[in-house]
Point group: C2
Chain length 334, copies 2
DNA sequence: AAGCGCCGTGAGAGCGGTCTCACGGCTGGG
DNA sequence: CCCAGCCGTGAGACCGCTCTCACGGCGCTT
């Protein structure tokens, strides 16, 4: 039961015959230490197996060396969301070697979301990464005003001065998708859009329109879904009236829904109707036919967000938003 | 630039005209405070927007109110692993309302994995959840010896006294799968097993054998894969020599690989060969035919792990391992 | 030769809480 | 009526680290 108390700075200092201050300098890599003292202290630290106490350090230095990754809408529905998983893992990977810890904050509802502000203020973290925001989310605004370093994933609904965000090029990606259909000689290109209050969905719609305009085409019929497969099925059913020969869906799940409706309607893909999705989820490889889609650099996005956040924490002023390029993944459906 | 310093205990105490100790008691819900004092202090706290400093509290109390979720093998390969995502989200959900923070520790390689021990010792967290362990992982042993509260997901290779784990019933699940095939009147039931050094794979193999034995059958042919789709394809190719009329694959990805091989070989599923997978991944719903499989209570597992960990942190002795029931998800493939 | 500045080091004051202990006032039992 | 005991409160000692400041010693300039 006599749990060996962990060695402290004092322990090390005493064992090395120097002062606490010197040990602290060694630990923090201060240049103002003689090489002999440094070696001595380092040996002692290794010998005693000393590890600095984070709480004490944090208390004294007013830094925590940890950042929060704030998730939203993390309920059972998206429980197995591979995108989320990628963001989380990529973020934690980006932090490896920096000595910065990742604290996961899961705000399931508005009330909890509000409390994130408190949480940050209480000095738990040095900065905040915001994933999967909602359009009306006041949190980024709050954090920016409180001068808390923050980086959000995805373009916010309304521009917020001083808010750094890292987005993928939804407009460009949607253009790629649409251009693919144009290039395939399709003339009646429809779009299954996502919820218009989500910027990613809005941007993809914009890209769709832009590509058609550039190709000198009129806009085709557009149906709106909510990014679920069921909504894709329903949207496709609507679009069938227009007898399209191509469909660009704003995400893969809706594309898969559309695929199902098309098949049920006796339309062959891609012969009768070419189909392009968005996201390149795992499933897209396994549909029949395999889904042509747009890949987003999720890992890059998370990494970039993390880097930008660390820069801000390091004292640099918030820079400009970053938009990362997307890429077409050609498969069989278009 | 004059950043308003956050109010501290002293601030609140002064404003309320009481001592620091009293404010502390109110915050910690001590019963030894008069109702009047309590109300007064609570009002003051609300008025000043006071939030306790976690580092200071942690330093003084030797608690951190946070737990680590240690992941392994979290590289690009499993980046989009929906299981991981589910574990992470479920864990963080289980922590909501407890005031305990989730710190994600991503040990990509052995060296980093070792450092988790240090990390815990330095007092960062009150306890550790271990996900996706490897067979030879010394970490659980280390943590148990260091009397650090720890709960691991999945049964460890070798029993470790005092180690609490939460597993899903792999043996039972495999039995369900195999029994399904027996009940369907299949007589030559093969198995595509996972890596024998993973307990989940070993247990599923055991369940397969047990079900056959109970049904008075001889064991069928077994091929080993590594849980990837490619290995499932290869394993199925091997098994074709035995001309099975049913296959139970130890996970869905291998089942999907097997499906592909079967189709290529001109075998119809389920008419010629019935097929059962394991895990009930999203993809299983979308194969053609849809995959009959076994569902594991991932969310329950994560929640249970968290609860058991909190109990240990609360001072209770480590209890017995928990094994959660699995369930058959009947679809079209068997 | 004297003075200056810099360099390595140590002493000590916080950082913002928790928690033990002491203390005055009140209640209740003998 | 007195004193034991409890209750609510306050004082103050930490928790382990950072960081400022002071100090002695050395090399350099003048």
């Amino acid at each position: 039961m006599t749990t060996e108390r962990q060695p402290t700075l004092d322990t090390v200092a005493a064992a090395a015959g120097v002062s606490r201050a010197t040990v602290s300098r060694v630990i923090n890599g201060s240049p103002r230490v003689s090489p002999e003292a440094r070696d001595l202290v380092e040996d002692t630290i290794a010998r005693l197996g000393y590890v600095p106490n984070r709480a004490a350090r944090s208390l004294a230095s007013r830094r925590t060396d940890s950042v929060a990754l704030v998730l939203r809408e993390a309920d059972a529905t998206v429980l197995a969301d591979p995108y989320l998983s990628a963001v989380i893992i990529a973020t934690s990977q980006a932090l490896v070697g920096t000595g910065v810890q990742l604290v996961l904050v899961n705000a399931q509802n508005d009330a909890e979301h509000q409390r994130v502000g408190e949480y940050v203020r209480s000095g738990h973290v040095d900065g905040v990464l915001l994933a999967s925001m909602h359009a009306d989310d006041p949190l980024p605004q709050l954090l920016v005003q409180a001068r808390v370093p923050v980086v959000v994933g995805g373009r916010p609904e309304r521009p917020i001065p001083g808010l750094v965000y890292v987005d993928t090029d939804n407009v460009g990606g949607a253009q790629l998708a649409t251009e693919r259909l144009v290039a395939a000689g399709r003339s009646r290109i429809a779009h299954i859009a996502g919820p218009p209050d989500m910027t990613a969905a809005a941007d993809r719609l914009t890209g769709y329109h832009r590509a058609l305009a550039r190709a000198g085409r009129d806009a085709g019929p557009v149906a709106f879904g909510d990014f679920t497969r069921a909504s894709g099925e329903a949207a496709m059913a609507t679009l069938l009236d227009h007898n399209p020969d191509a469909v660009f869906a704003a995400n893969d799940m809706m594309a898969i829904g559309a695929l199902r409706t098309l098949r049920a309607a006796g339309r062959r893909v891609p012969e009768d109707v070419a189909l392009v999705g968005y996201d390149d989820i795992e499933l897209a490889q396994h549909t029949e036919p395999a889904l042509t889609t747009i890949r987003q650099p999720v890992v890059d996005q998370a990494r970039t967000m993390t880097e930008l956040l660390l820069l801000q924490i390091g004292g640099q002023p918030p820079g400009d938003p970053v938009v990362l390029p997307t890429e077409l993944v050609p498969r069989e459906s278009a």
